[in-house]
């Protein structure tokens, strides 16, 4: 649609008090996104895509999302199959629960967030290789096994029934899932906003993915 091509891609970044939002806001802006910071469900009305960042533990994060009345709007967004990117904790929250503190999370992907076992060091902090399990527009122009920046001790583990959602894996002790994709629902365990040029490329790809999405326009 002509209108969609002319206006900027509007991204809501969810702020629920989980740390540094400046870097994701700056990175999305750098690649051409029009970023708004969403502190309640109302802020999701006129945007094309939703980004949930965050670091730390799942329990306090879910409690803060509840307090900001964001849990139901996020569920409704995902149920409506609109473009979504979860980053780090924002990916982990998509699963049913977390072993970190026993928290119940959004449950839109079958599986749990589990500790990285056999890891030589924890937290897993630093640049590590992301191995693609299949091609996806999110990784267009990014070589297989490129380095991205990770900061975490836990990672989402999809149920075998959800194996098809796995987009990429990374090794630290054992292999864990470092990116998922199911239709317009995307998640990465690493921090593209802190991963230099390849990170910016991935975010630019996300914006292109949003523009190409049939459900990217604001709901009527």
């Amino acid at each position: 649609m002509i209108e969609a091509a002319e206006r900027p891609t509007r991204i809501a970044v969810v702020d629920y008090g989980a740390g540094n939002l400046v870097s994701i806001e700056q990175a999305l802006t750098r690649v051409g996104g029009q970023v708004t910071i969403a502190r309640d469900g109302e802020a999701l009305r006129d945007v094309d895509a939703l980004v949930v960042p965050g670091v730390g533990a799942a329990g306090p994060a879910m409690a803060r999302l509840e307090r900001h009345d964001l849990v139901q709007p996020i569920r409704a967004w995902i149920a409506a199959e609109r473009p979504f990117l979860g980053i780090c904790l924002g990916l982990q929250l998509l699963f049913e629960g977390s072993d970190e503190d026993g928290a119940t999370t959004l449950g839109v992907l079958p599986g749990r967030t589990v500790e990285l076992v056999d890891a030589p060091t924890l937290p897993h902090i630093g640049w590590n290789q992301v191995g693609l399990e299949r091609a996806h527009p999110l990784f267009d122009g990014i070589a297989d096994q490129s380095d991205f920046y990770f900061v975490h001790s836990f990672a989402g583990q999809p149920e075998p029934s959800a194996a098809a959602t796995v987009l990429a894996t990374t090794e630290h002790g054992r292999r864990f899932v470092s990116a998922v994709a199911r239709g317009p629902l995307l998640g990465v365990q690493f921090h593209p906003e802190r991963s230099g040029d390849d990170g910016l490329k991935l975010l630019a790809n996300f914006l292109a993915f949003v523009r190409a999405s049939p459900r990217s326009g604001a709901l009527a």
Binding site: V22, S23, G126, W127, R194, L200
Partner: protein, 263 residues
Amino acid sequence: MLRRRVIPCLDVADGRVVKGTRFVDLVDEGDPPELAERYAREGADELVFLDITAAPERRGTLLDIVERTARRAFIPLTVGGGVRSVSEMRDVLRAGADKVSLNTAAVADPNLISRCASRFGRQAVVVAIDSRRNVGPDGSPPTWDVVVKGGRESTDLDAVAWAERAVDLGAGELLVTSIDRDGTGTGFDTDLLRAITERVGVPVIASGGAAGPADFIAAVRDGGADAVLAASIFHRRIHSITEIKAAMAEAGIPVRLTPEVAA
């Protein structure tokens, strides 16, 4: 495979990058965000800002620098120097830092580590340990004392014991500086690094004494460090990050090779 990191450290005083020898004789070496962007381009894996003035009335200057840096350098940023409370840590994170390093304040109040870790997650809490080697009888194994206030004040804490305690309290990473070697270009204290990396499971950043590529390789191979930090050799362009990483790769150490490094 997880890469070993090369981290330029920017000592910041009153909004400028400075470097002295053993925390004194400071020399102005540039604008922090500008240097940060240059280092990101040259392949820095992360950046550390240490605010070494840390006078309370100057905090605004630091937050402004952090924010301007976050707009220009899309790699992780750790900020340390004078953070004494959960609310000060929150301000620094909200300005655009990914991690905060605690030093003197954590020695004075070790539970500060736990409070910060439970609020922001342990991955955001770096504990910086400035260590001074004790001169013991000949042949006795070396020990190190923790020093605080930029090396000006001694404590009776053993550096290795403090490292273990800091991790138990919630530190997600340790920044271990040899005060004896800092700014001297005589190489990292690999005995100190090894003593700590053998006892903790969190990543350890080596600091203090870098002169050339061989020191970075030794910090990883002999010291067991996950990351290596240096200041003067990068600011003064004695060695480039590209050159250091190429030498590490040559020595078989996994590093992130950016296009410039590979070229």
